[in-house]
Amino acid sequence: MAVTGKEITRILATDCGSTTTKAILIEKRDGEYRLIRRGEAPTTVEAPAEDVTKGVLNAVGEIEDLEGREFLRSTKDGIDVSPDGSGGVDIYMSTSSAGGGLQMTVAGVVKSMTGESAQRAALGAGAIVMDVVASNDGRLPHEKVSDIRRLRPDMILLSGGIDGGTIDHVVELAEIIRAADPKPRFGVGYKLPVIYAGNREAREAVAGELGGSMELKVVDNLRPVLERENLGPARDTIHELFMEHVMAQAPGYSRLMSWAGHWVDGAWEQVPIMPTPGAVGKLIEIVAKNEGIEVMGVDIGGATTDVFSVFGNQGESVFNRTVSANLGMSYSVSNVLASAGLENVMRWVPFRMDETDLRNRIRNKMIRPTTIPQLLEELVIEQAIAREALRLALVQHRELATGLKGVAQERTIGDAFEQTQSGATLVDMMSLNLLIGSGGVLSHAPRRCQAAHMLIDSFLPEGVTMLAVDSIFMMPQLGVLSEVLPEAATEVFDKDCLIRLGTCVAPSGVNRKADVLATVRIERSDGKTEEHPVRAGTMLLLPLGVGQRAKAVITPARGLDVGAGPGAVWSGELEGGVVGLVLDGRGRQPFELPADDAVRVKKLQEWSLALDTYPAAFFGKGGR
C-alpha cells in the first residue's frame, strides 16, 4: 500500500489486546520519525461496555491528557484524522487480538504435509490454530465432525493435494466440514468463511460441497508441488476475511474499521485492521530482511505466547510463527504449571518453598490475572514460571518451523554421513543472530538484566547472540505501520522500540574435562585488550554499553563450538547493550542444572549475583 499525496507526519496507532488497549503517537520531527507518547486503557470488548472503541477512546484520551493536545473528534466519537494536516493526526491504524483473537481450524490431506502447510499459513496470518484435521489424523469421520462442531472456529482453511494430485481425499474433507456445519462464535446469522487452498482440480467438487452453506473463497494451492509452499495467497485471504467477516461481527469493530485510515488526494483510504501477531510477524520479517540476519522474536502475553523466527534454509529466508495458545503469564499461568510440571518451575527458584503455598499463589494469579508482584519473592516466582512458558513455546516452535516434509532430497556422496531428514527443524540457536523478547514479564522486568537472564535460561542461545527487548510492546503497531510507511516503522523500531540488552556468548558441545570452555579476548574501542576465561558452570557479566562494540577473538576448548565450528576460533565484533556482555559457561547441548537441591540453589544464587539479576541482599535474608 504505497502512500501518495501529502506527507504523513503524525501517526496514531492502537493495539487492542485481550486485556489492554495500547495507543502510541509517532511524529516526524527534525526529519526523523520518533515515538512521542504512549497511552493505555482496559480493552472493552466484553460486557459491560461490549464495544472495543471505548477502550480505544480511553487509551487515546490518555495521550491527549499527557500531550495537552486533541486527537479525538470534537464529538469524542472517533479519531480526528485530518485531510490537510490541520488538526488531529494524519493517519490512524490498529491491530487487534481482543475477543480471543482469530481462531481457526485447518484441514489437509496428510497431516505432516498439507496439514502442516495449512497450519503454517494460518499461524503466519496471526491465527490460533485450534485443530488440524487430516485424512490420516487417526480420528474416525464422525469424530472429526463433532470436533469441528464443538470448537466453533471463526474460519476454516481447507487445503490438500498438490495440483493434479488427489481429489477424493480433499472432497472427503469438504464433506466432513459440511456435515459438521459449525456455527461461528459471533453473529448467528452469517455464514462461516471457508478458504479453499488445495488441489486446483478439486475446486469444482469442493465448491459443490461447500458453496451453498458456507462463505467459500477459493485461492491458489498453498502446496502446489511437494517441494514448494505458496502461503501468501491463503494468508492474504485470511486477513481479508478476518476484517470482512470475523471482526465485523465483534462488538464495536465495524466502527473501529471505519476510523482506521487516512486521506489520500481528497479520498478516504481505509487501513485494514490486522490480527496482532500477524503484524508482529511482518515487522520481524522486515528486520531480518533489512539486516540480512537470522532473527527470533517471542511475545509472552497473558493468555498466549507467540514465537516468530526467520532462519535460512537452502539459501532462502524462511519465516515461521507459532502460537502456544495456553502458555501465558496471567490467564494461562496455571497451564504453564500443568504443562511444565512443578519441578521444572521450581528448578529456577533460588530458594526453597512449600508446594501447596506455591500452587495456591499461582492459582490466585490465574483468577486475578491483572495483579502484579509487590514482593521480590513473588517476582522471582513469576520469572521462574516465565522461563518455563518460554521454554515450552520454543519446543513447540521447533516442531513446526521445519523444512517441508515428504520432499525427496538429492544427496551427494558428501552428504552420505549427514543423516539429515526432510522436515528437520530450521531453528538453529547457534546461527541465530538476534533474539527479541516482548510481553509484560520481559519488557516490564524491573531490571533489564532480568529480561536477559530469562531469555538466556529459556532459549539457551548458543555461540554469539544479540539479545533485545521490545521496550513497551510497540511491535504490533509498528507491524501495521510497516504496511503503509515502512521507513517510519523501521526508524521507530530501531530508535524507540528495540532496547539492546547486549550479547551472550555461550560455548556449545561436550568436553567434560574442560574447566575453561572458551577464552574471550576483546579489544575495546579505546584500544585496551582484555582476556576472560569462560569457566565451566559460571556466568560472567562484562560492561559493554549501548552502541559500544568490541573486536573479539573467542577460542573454544577442544570439541566445543562458539559459532565457527567445533574447536574453531571465532572472530568478529561483539555489540553491547544496557546489560552488557554475558559470558555463559553453563554449557549447551547439553545444558543441565545441578541435580542436588542445595547445589542448585547455591548455583542459581551465584549466577544471579554474577548478572546482578536480583539484589544481593535478597539472598541474605530469611534463610535464603
Binding site: A41, H142, D181, V188, S332, R359, I367, T371, E378
Partner: protein, 372 residues
C-alpha cells in the same frame, strides 16, 4: 485523575439480575414477554443436528464410486432404520449379491460420487433450557432464547466448578472464618446449597456429594485438593462442565481464606430461600465468574448506582495479592506519581488503611473494589 479502574466482584443485597438464556442454535421460545417463570420453567428448546456416520458404500460393495447411484435403495433425505438396506449389487444371475446396510437409525443425507462416501445422520438431539432463576421474561431473542429478570440477592464468586444447580440456602458454620468440616454435614443438608466459611477440603466435598448436597459456597480451597478432586491439573480456567455431582463457588480464592464478612452475612440472611448457583468460570476473553442468585420478593430495589470500577478515597477494598492478601480496608490516599515496590517495579499505588489503623502502600492493580 483521582480514581482507578479496578472492577470488583458484585455482592448486592437486592439487585435486578438479568439472565440471558440462549440456545446453542436457533430454535423455539416457549414463553412470552411478561410471563412469570420459575427456575425450572422450560423457556426455549431446539434440536441439534444428529451425529454423523460416514459410510463408504463404494468400498463395501467393491465398485467404483461412480457406479453406485443406480444401486442405492435410498435417496437423500429418506429416513433409514438400523440395518435397513441402503444399496446392493445386482450379483450374478440374481445371486451372490453384495449388500450395504445402515448401521444407524436416522436419515440418508447424501452420497458423493467422487469419494463413494454416504453421509448418514442420526436423529436430532433435543435441547431445552430452563429459566434458571425465578422471575419475569423481559425479552425474547427471536428464536434463540429469552432474557429473564429477577429481583434478589446477587453474589459473584471468584472461581467455581460445576454447572447450574438450585437448592435451599442453608448455613452450616457459625462464622466466616470457620472451616466447613465433614462433621458439619448431616441428612438435613440433602438438596441444599451450603454456606461454608473459610475453607473446604476435597474429602468434605466428597462427603457432601454422597449426602446429596447441591452446592457449596465457601471462602477458599487448596489447589492441591482441586487437582485431586478433579483428577487432573486444571490448565486454563474454563470451568462449569465438570460432572462431579456438586457445584463449588469460592468467594475469595485459593488457600485458607476467611469469607468477606459482608458476603457471609448477606448469604446468611437469606437462609431458607431458594438459590440458583452456577460454578461456571471463564477467566479470559469473555470473563465469567461463578454466582449465587437468590430471588427475594417484596423488597424495593434500593441499589445505589456507582460508576463501574471507580475508586476513590474512602472506597472499601480488598487486597488480592501478597503480602496483604485477603485483608479488607479503605483507600486512604491515591498518590498520582509512580512508586517503587520491594520488587523494584515502578507502579501506581494507593494507600490503604486497615480496620486496626495500620496503613500500607500497595499497587493499585493488587486491590479490588467491594461494593457497599
Amino acid at each position: 485523575m483521582a480514581f482507578a479502574y479496578t472492577p470488583g466482584l458484585r455482592v448486592a443485597g437486592i439487585a435486578v439480575v438479568r439472565k440471558e438464556r440462549r440456545l446453542p442454535l436457533k430454535g423455539e421460545t416457549l414463553v412470552r414477554v411478561g410471563d412469570e417463570v420459575s427456575a425450572d420453567t422450560i423457556v426455549a428448546r431446539t434440536e441439534l443436528p444428529g451425529n454423523v456416520k460416514m459410510l463408504n458404500i463404494a468400498n463395501v460393495l467393491g465398485l467404483p464410486p461412480g457406479d453406485i447411484p443406480p444401486l442405492l435403495t435410498k435417496r437423500p433425505g429418506d429416513p433409514i432404520g438400523e440395518n435397513d438396506l441402503i444399496g446392493q449389487t445386482k450379483g450374478m444371475f440374481g445371486l451372490f449379491k453384495n449388500a450395504v446396510r445402515s448401521p444407524i437409525m436416522g436419515i440418508f443425507e447424501s452420497y458423493n460420487e467422487i469419494t463413494g462416501q454416504a453421509v448418514l445422520r442420526e436423529p436430532p438431539i433435543p435441547v431445552e433450557i430452563d429459566a434458571y432463576v425465578k422471575g419475569t421474561v423481559i425479552e425474547v431473542l427471536g428464536g434463540e432464547g429469552v432474557v429473564v429478570e429477577a429481583r434478589g440477592t446477587f453474589v459473584q464468586g471468584i472461581f467455581g466448578i460445576g454447572g447450574e444447580v438450585r437448592g435451599e440456602m442453608k448455613v452450616v458454620v457459625r462464622s466466616p472464618d470457620q472451616e466447613l468440616t465433614q462433621d458439619l454435614l448431616d441428612e438435613s443438608c440433602r438438596g441444599k446449597v451450603l454456606l461454608g466459611g473459610s475453607f473446604v477440603t476435597s474429602g468434605t466435598l466428597r462427603k457432601a456429594i454422597a449426602g446429596g448436597v447441591k452446592a457449596i459456597v465457601v471462602g477458599g480451597f487448596d489447589d492441591r485438593d482441586l487437582k485431586e478432586f478433579l483428577g487432573y491439573d486444571l490448565g486454563v480456567a474454563i470451568t462449569g462442565h465438570e460432572k462431579k455431582g456438586i457445584t463449588l463457588v469460592l468467594t475469595e480464592g485459593f488457600g485458607r481464606m476467611t469469607m468477606a464478612k459482608g458476603t457471609f452475612d448477606l448469604l446468611r440472611s437469606r437462609e431458607g430461600l431458594m438459590a440458583s448457583v452456577n460454578g461456571a468460570t471463564q477467566i479470559r476473553a469473555g470473563v465469567m465468574r461463578p454466582e449465587v442468585v437468590i430471588p427475594v420478593e417484596g423488597q424495593e430495589i434500593a441499589e445505589t448506582e456507582r460508576i463501574a470500577g471507580a475508586m476513590d478515597v474512602g472506597s472499601p477494598i480488598r487486597c488480592i495479592r501478597a503480602p496483604h492478601f485477603g485483608r479488607l480496608g479503605r483507600v486512604a490516599a491515591l498518590p498520582a506519581e509512580l512508586q517503587v515496590l520491594e520488587s523494584e517495579a515502578h507502579v501506581r499505588v494507593l494507600e490503604v488503611e486497615f480496620p486496626d489503623g495500620e496503613r500500607a502502600t500497595i499497587p493499585r492493580a493488587n486491590v479490588e473494589l467491594i461494593e457497599e
